[in-house]
């Protein structure tokens, strides 16, 4: 249902912006050639007819051929998906692995120098524009210090038929800055969530009880508090992961990372409608799938949710 509405919106929306022919065609052509090209791309049919052709093909798994590349849109997107997924997952990992400990530290010792620094850092993290942070990192780490490569994806190896770059040292070096750039926003978010969650959990009865029982601080923190702050973190990260994938556009453009995000922004600028439509449909599908996974994770993390299901 969502997918159908989405496809309708995008199809007609893109058409309102402009005609791709004007961008693709060489202006030195005469009018006859322009008409021929319009016909070749199927753009001479009225828009509702074009939509019906699209739907018919979609049921056969064919989401149309790109106007710019002439290749099937689905194939182009799937070709670049591993790069984006790799980046998004690494960004998420960084956000979680660094965010939760830092947030918990800030929550446990809110008035310490470290705690306050972490919180100010998180504010910078979500205020600074991604584009600027990316360029700054390139200037400092690649140009001035020469520690990391400036752009692109590193060497890839095939893992189960998919090209991945995190298994090579060169690949990791290339991935470090873009992943950090992409994950910075999420990192800040996780830090603040973890801090808030920790502060709240500290005041709960079960923590006081655990201390009274004589459990070590370490055990109280790692076992009891950590598990309880995970729920809001998982919820938000689930929603945000879809964002990471769909909107990695800025990071991919700055770092020339060959992923789906760069493909979509180029396609929007060139009005390559088949790719835009196919991409948005895939993204909607992914959002739906991710929400499902988050729901399942809930019941795993929170026994109360499980019990309720059992009772019902």
């Amino acid at each position: 249902m969502v997918i159908v509405v989405m496809s309708l919106l995008v199809f007609f929306g893109v058409n309102v912006i402009g005609n791709p022919i004007d961008i693709l065609i060489n202006p030195e052509f005469d009018q006859e050639e322009m008409e021929r090209a319009i016909k070749a791309l199927g753009l001479d049919l009225p828009i509702w007819q074009q939509y019906l052709v699209f739907v018919k093909n979609a049921f056969n798994g064919d989401l149309g051929k790109s106007f710019v590349y002439g290749m099937p849109a689905l194939q182009l997107i799937v070709q670049r998906m591993p790069a984006t997924l790799e980046l998004a997952l690494t960004a998420l990992l960084m956000a979680v692995v660094f965010g939760i400990p830092l947030g918990m530290w800030a929550g446990l010792r809110p008035d310490s120098v470290a705690g306050r620094t972490i919180m100010s850092g998180s504010i910078l993290g979500f205020s600074l524009p991604t584009f600027w942070v990316g360029i700054m990192m390139i200037m400092i780490f690649a140009v001035m210090l020469g520690w990391l490569p400036a752009t692109g994806r590193g060497e890839t190896v095939a893992l189960f038929g998919v090209q991945v770059s995190f298994l090579t040292k060169d690949g990791l070096a290339h991935m470090l800055m873009p992943a950090f750039n992409l994950g910075l926003l999420k990192l800040s978010l996780v830090i603040r969530l973890a801090r808030a969650g920790t502060r709240e959990a500290m005041l709960q009865d079960y923590v006081k009880f655990a201390r009274a029982k004589g459990l070590s601080t370490w055990r109280v923190v790692m076992v009891h508090i950590l598990k309880n702050i995970l729920i809001p973190v998982v919820t938000v990260l689930g929603l945000e992961f879809g964002n990471l994938i769909a909107f990695s556009v800025v990071t991919e453009t700055v770092f020339a990372w060959p992923g789906m995000g760069k493909l979509i922004i180029d396609s929007i600028q060139l009005l390559d409608r088949p790719i835009i439509v196919a991409y948005l449909l895939i993204i909607v599908f992914m959002f739906i799938a991710i929400n499902l996974v988050v729901d399942v994770l809930y019941s795993v993390l929170d026994p109360r949710v499980r019990l309720q299901d059992v009772k019902a």
């Binding site: 402009g18 009018q31 002439g70």
Partner: protein
Amino acid sequence: MRKITLGMLGAVVAVSLASGAWAAELRVGLALEPSSIDPHYHNLSPNNAFARHLFDRLVQTDDKQRLGPGLAVSWRTLDDTTWEFKLREGVKWHDGSPFTADDVLFTFERAPNVESSPSSFGTYTKGKTLTKIDDFTIQIKTERPHPLMPNDVATVNIISKKHGQGAKTGDYNSGKAAIGTGPYKFVEWMPGDRLIIEKNADYWGEKARYDRVVFKPIKSGPARVAALLAGDVDFIDLVPTADIERLKSEPNVVLSSGVSNRVIYLHLDHDRDASPFITGTNGKNPLKDVRVRKAISKSINRAAIVEKVMEGVAIPAGQLLPDGFFGVSPNLKPEPFDLEGAKQLLADAGWGGGFGLTIHGPNDRYINDSKIALAIGQMLTRLGIDAKVETMPKSVYFRRASRGGPDKTPEFSFILVGWGAGTGEASSPLKSLLHTYDKARGFGASNRGRYSNPELDTLVEDALATVDDAQREKMLQKATEIAINDLGIIPLHYQVNTWATRKGLAYVPRTDESTVIMNVIEQ
């Protein structure tokens, strides 16, 4: 035991010495990636520039777009409508098979018929009938005299009949059918990530300087410059004008710049009386008066635009093509800046009180386009015209500029736009921008101001049918003078393109704005 160990040691040393052969590799940061390896798929600058590495054409254009022998060693006209081309012997395809006339015939059949081509090469092949005379001679016949035959033929990359038969665009992209006669061979293409080519040791012409070239598409300007500064790439193109000053003082970077065939100009509404974006005139169109147009041209300080907006990286224009191109008139110079004279002219024409005008332009097509439009707006305001400026992305702009009005006519009244003469001579802008719009005969396809001058039309049509070079040049010069003196368009400046290399290398600029590795030289 010791003998075996020594033997192995010797073998290891020998192998390492042999494989230590010096492999020169060039890494390139490309601003615009080709959309396909198929040379006939899309008539687009990055595709055409890349195709030059893998393929050759019968007639090749040099850095100034002058014609020279390629896969054809000579050509001549047998009569007004027949051209004969003698082909080069001893040329081999990348797979070793010989090049013959059959490949040329196949190419001209296939080029206009590529599936889903958004902008096909059919324009250059239509109306031409090819006949094979023998393995190394062909004749091309047209219905009417066609002096631009060599220019047209220079745009079509020759593909192999053996590998091209039945091959689709996808086969070229994967490399299966990407067999050419060019100085480099195709190795690999990961779209968005890297495009790799290697040296063709059996090339018939000047051998490639590099064993391997890796193109990395880096669309973002600052990222591209950073990659060069960090040493990740050795060569980049399309250096943003804002970075040129900084790079000039950088000891490890060499800048190379050259003028292009592209003129940035203003197109005005010559056609409608009640033009939609002109206000305060009671339904009259002041742009139809040549004095008003001249006043506008005088009020534009081209030198200031070049210095401040283009940061010195442009050349003021007085006509359609820079000096040195075919058809450029020696009598036309850029209009000198004269604000007082402009105000006087405007008053003489009866518009001393001014009027309202909206300037339209793209913001992501030409170098600094929206900034130029803003500068023009300011200059017109000083003249007394109440100018507003509206810029938009090219995806929206071109459709509206060409067909956004009622009945699919041009929408705007005053636009900033550019024109690159693909054929490298003046008939290209004259035919498409200034000849009366005539859909049936294919004239004025980009004449968005609908300028119409019968004297100009006749001259242009005659020139296009005159095979004698000297005569044709005179006609083109005269036609240009008529159009410019009547201000059919107002030329602003010619674009200058900048490439940057690491120290030790330089780039020989091309006027067709192409980035071609064969032009990278050691310094």
